[in-house]
């Protein structure tokens, strides 16, 4: 009975998968010379490349050349440019994203128009089901089917299907991001929080806008669609902000994240080959790398959007200055954590109910948040550990509040520094799990908590790591104390301009090699 039920479930899932494959097959099989040429011009949708810079400048020139009163033409231009930006990497997946966006648009219109509860529920289910289904098909099917296969074999059953080669499955860039945007839109329309967007180009732009398409920030429909209605004027202040954020993001990515990758990547790949000291350095380097990689990308995305007159959600707020894990999640990947809060944690019951129920909701939210990052046990465990830390912190906070002396000590400057350090250490140790292989993560933990010699040396002198860490810390302190904002207002314009040029040159000079992909592009 059990294998029959499982086989039926797998067959159903496979049926869905085959349907998706069949539907999009013509796009995949037909490789147009146009898209092939496009791919040569813009091989990957990375922001820190000269190809992207050229693409962005061309689109920018065309966008602002269109008269202001032709706002819809400008929007169409951005939609077409965004489609090409994605299609240059993969034409079939660009068609997939566009098609699902069109379906979401139609379902949204239907949700808005219908007054019957059953119909609205069905439409909501259809929209969420389609988005989650496609996400599962591309991102999770390999993981789930392989785990199921292994479990059935362990129990002595024949699964009736072969394991999948996960590495051969191409996951569309940004699928987790735009799926969440589409789901939040459908839910908001269902809740009558917003009306369905009537303009197709505006809705397409909401999902496809190239600065946030591949790696967020996860934008909310009310914030973004409102902006599409305002006619855009060329604004020098906004352009300055955009350029500044783009440069800052490029510096974080090239000069810090890629540099730190030189430290941590070899160690995370082969932890058994390195000594305990090298492993600890790699953990610190990875913490810096992932922050500068993702926040650098987000800064570039926000900066690029500013150049077109759009404001995206801020995604980071100096997360490594967080004094506890709750604070960390208010500062890290803000657009995701607020999404999870609004569309998962609160619908699950949030902090209402008993303490146990609140803890359960917290754990479930973080487990799913972990799974969102990747289809592997390690990501699930990463989310679980963070959930556990959040629950523990909540209980400790309540316990400490009843002890004024302890509470006072923890709030003192020394106590705060200690809390920041402990939070950073806990978060950094959790990052070890933030990789597809749980075996390698456990091997790295084993090295960290033993005294082992290595047979390989770090490829970079550790001085580079400490200088970078000190630089990041100083920058955090300067910004958090408002010194940067004060200086920014007072620094003469030419000095600021020279600063931009210096920032660009420093980013180029300190880039260790050709520059890699962004970590969050894998999600």
């Amino acid at each position: 009975m059990i294998p029959d039920a499982i086989s039926t479930a797998v067959a159903t899932a496979s049926g869905w998968a085959y349907w998706v494959k069949w539907w999009f097959a013509p796009f995949g099989e037909y490789t147009s010379p146009y898209f092939t040429g496009l791919h040569k011009l813009l091989p990957e949708p990375f922001f820190h490349t000269q190809a992207f810079l050229a693409f962005c400048l061309v689109v920018l020139a065309a966008y602002w050349a269109i008269p202001r009163k032709w706002q819809l033409t400008r929007i169409w231009l951005l939609v077409v440019a965004s489609f090409h930006f994605y299609a240059a990497w993969s034409q079939e997946l660009a068609f997939l994203v566009t098609t699902t966006t069109l379906v979401d648009y139609l379902l949204g219109r239907g949700l808005d128009a219908s007054r019957r509860r059953r119909v609205r529920q069905f439409l909501l289910f259809a929209s969420v089901g389609m988005n989650i289904g496609i996400l599962c098909y591309f991102k999770y099917r390999g993981f789930f089917l392989n785990e199921l296969n292994a479990s059935l074999r362990d129990l002595g059953y024949d699964p009736g299907y072969a394991t999948l080669d996960i590495k051969s499955i191409i996951v569309p860039f940004g699928i987790s991001f735009y799926t969440f945007e589409a789901i939040s839109y459908a839910v908001d329309v269902y809740r009558r929080k917003i009306g369905a967007e009537r303009s197709l180009p505006r809705f397409l732009l909401f999902i496809l806008f190239f600065p946030h398409l591949v790696s967020g920030p996860i934008v909310r429909a009310p914030d973004f669609l409102r902006q599409t209605r305002r006619p855009k004027r060329w604004n020098w202040v906004r352009v300055q902000v955009g350029v500044q954020m783009f440069l800052m993001g490029a510096f974080k990515k090239l000069a810090i994240a890629d540099r730190m990758a030189v430290f941590c990547d070899p160690v995370f790949k082969e932890p058994d080959q390195y000594g305990t000291g090298a492993c600890w350095l790699a953990v610190v380097a990875y913490a810096l790398r992932i922050y500068c990689d993702f926040s650098g990308y987000s800064d570039m995305a926000v900066g690029a959007a500013h150049l077109f007159g759009y404001k995206l959600t801020a995604n980071f707020n100096m997360p490594y200055l967080a004094a506890n894990v709750s604070d960390f999640w208010r500062r890290w990947h803000i657009s995701l954590s607020t999404w999870l809060r609004d569309y998962l944690y609160i619908p699950l019951g949030g902090s209402r109910g008993t303490k146990l129920q609140a803890d359960r909701n917290q754990m479930l939210t973080m487990l799913l948040g972990g799974l969102w990052h990747g289809a592997a046990w390690s990501y699930l465990l990463w989310g679980g550990v963070h959930g556990l830390l959040l629950v523990l912190h909540k209980h400790f906070r309540d316990w400490a509040r009843e002890r004024p002396r302890l509470d006072g000590a923890l709030r003192s400057p020394a106590g705060t520094v200690l809390r920041v350090f402990l939070t950073f250490a806990a978060v950094s140790l959790c990052w070890v799990l933030f990789q597809p292989s749980i075996g390698k993560a456990l091997a790295l933990y084993a090295r960290l908590f033993s005294f082992a010699d290595g047979v390989k040396f770090l490829p970079l002198h550790h001085r580079s790591l400490w200088y970078t860490a000190a630089f990041v810390l100083i920058c955090h302190l300067i910004v958090s104390r408002g010194l940067w904002q004060r200086a920014y207002a007072r620094v003469p314009a030419p000095v600021l301009g020279v600063g931009y040029a210096a920032c660009l040159c420093a980013a180029l000079v300190l880039a260790p090699d050709g520059g890699g992909s962004f970590i969050y592009f894998d999600f």
């Binding site: 104390r481 020279v498 040159c505």
Partner: protein, 374 residues
């Protein structure tokens, strides 16, 4: 517990925001700062591009750092001192102990002497020719020039000289890049690399620049500050003098991977490296610089990698070149035992001393002795 961050008091407190400037002021400041940014970026790019084309100190640290030392050594030497330069690869870099050679020559000849090690890793005949031209242009004319022959670098390969893997266009001036292309370097790659070094110098020359300011910021494979870690006469102290047999074996295995294939099959005559070597010897003949071709020491195991046919071809080729150009050949390959190498062909300190002493005694000093003069 309140999660609001309370930072230490010693940090300056958050300032009260200054009066917000008006819209026009903000606009003016934005325009000015962006314009200044564009001008400064252009100035920085053009400035470095021009500097790179004019100064090898920016473009090719491997050469320039050694050239600076050579100039200092020559300036410090009294007038009439004999000047010996050894142009070669990392084998020469680790093996030719210039200060020791200079002292020994001084004692032997009773004349002041300055010997300099111009060994640069991963070089070959094309690099040596270009470096010699630069040295001559800079006014360095040695009384005796050693040119190391690294046999694999002479291989006539269909894709061009092997050294093009290391001598990128960004290390060359425009005319040098064209010369390299003439000797079989990949034209698109070499010219493209040179072009990028002019148009986008901050990215293309970043390893050279960082290596100059903060070498430890670079992974070892990208470091170009080889010439900085050498003594006053250009000799590079081996990094790890105490090698265990296991490490030595591992290093030799790596050398084997790198060279064995070539040493089993390579041909020399008619290749582009051969043409470069001949042009180098022609240049020295025109300038009247005495030359000795030098085959650096190799361990027995390393020499075992040569196929007999390759060894015979190489010997015949070198004999022919020496005959044609009237230069001597010093075959130092069997001079040292295996334990004086790190990997079968790079010497440890004791090896460098033994080799330099013997080279001075048997080749350099006799060359300068009055009795040896024609």
């Amino acid at each position: 517990m309140n999660v609001k961050l309370a930072l230490p008091k010693w940090l300056p407190a958050t300032a009260r925001p200054a009066a917000r400037p008006g819209r026009r002021d903000r606009r003016r400041k934005a325009v000015r700062s962006l314009a200044a940014g564009v001008v400064a970026t252009a100035a920085l790019f053009v400035g470095l591009g021009v500097a790179a084309e004019r100064s090898l100190y920016v473009r090719d640290p491997a050469y320039a750092d050694k050239e600076v030392r050579l100039r200092r050594l020559e300036a410090a030497a009294p007038p009439g001192a004999v000047r010996v330069v050894a142009l070669g690869t990392s084998r020469t870099g680790y093996g030719f102990h210039g200060l020791r050679v200079g002292d020994a020559l001084n004692a032997d000849l009773g004349r002041p002497a300055a010997a300099f090690n111009f060994g640069v890793p991963a070089s070959g005949p094309v690099t040596h020719l270009l470096y010699l031209r630069r040295l001559l242009d800079a006014g360095h004319t040695p009384d005796l020039l050693f040119v190391e022959i690294l046999p694999p670098s002479l291989a006539a390969l269909p894709e061009g000289p092997r050294e093009q893997l290391f001598l990128n266009g960004e290390r060359l001036r425009r005319d040098e890049a064209e010369t390299a292309v003439g000797y079989g370097f990949d034209a698109d790659k070499t010219r493209g690399s040179w072009r990028r070094s002019v148009l986008n110098p901050w990215s293309t020359l970043r390893f050279a620049l960082v290596g100059r300011v903060a070498p430890s910021f670079l992974p070892w494979q990208f470091r170009q500050d080889w010439g900085r870690n050498v003594d006053a006469a250009g000799w590079c102290t081996p990094l790890n003098p105490d090698l265990s047999p296991a490490r030595r074996e591992k290093a030799f295995a790596q050398a084997k991977i790198e060279y064995e294939g070539l040493l089993q099959t390579m041909t020399v005559a008619g290749g582009r490296p051969d043409a470069a070597l001949r042009d180098l010897l022609t240049l020295t003949r025109e300038r009247g610089i005495p030359v000795r071709l030098l085959l650096m020491p190799e361990s027995d195991a390393f020499r075992g990698m040569y196929a007999p046919a390759v060894a015979a071809r190489l010997d015949g080729y070198l004999a022919g070149v020496c005959r044609e150009f009237g230069c001597g050949l010093v075959d130092a390959r069997p001079w040292l035992p295996a334990d004086l190498f790190t990997d079968g062909h790079h010497m440890v300190k004791a090896g460098a001393e033994a080799f330099s002493d013997r080279l001075t005694r048997e080749v350099i000093a006799p060359f300068f002795r009055p009795a040896a003069a024609p």
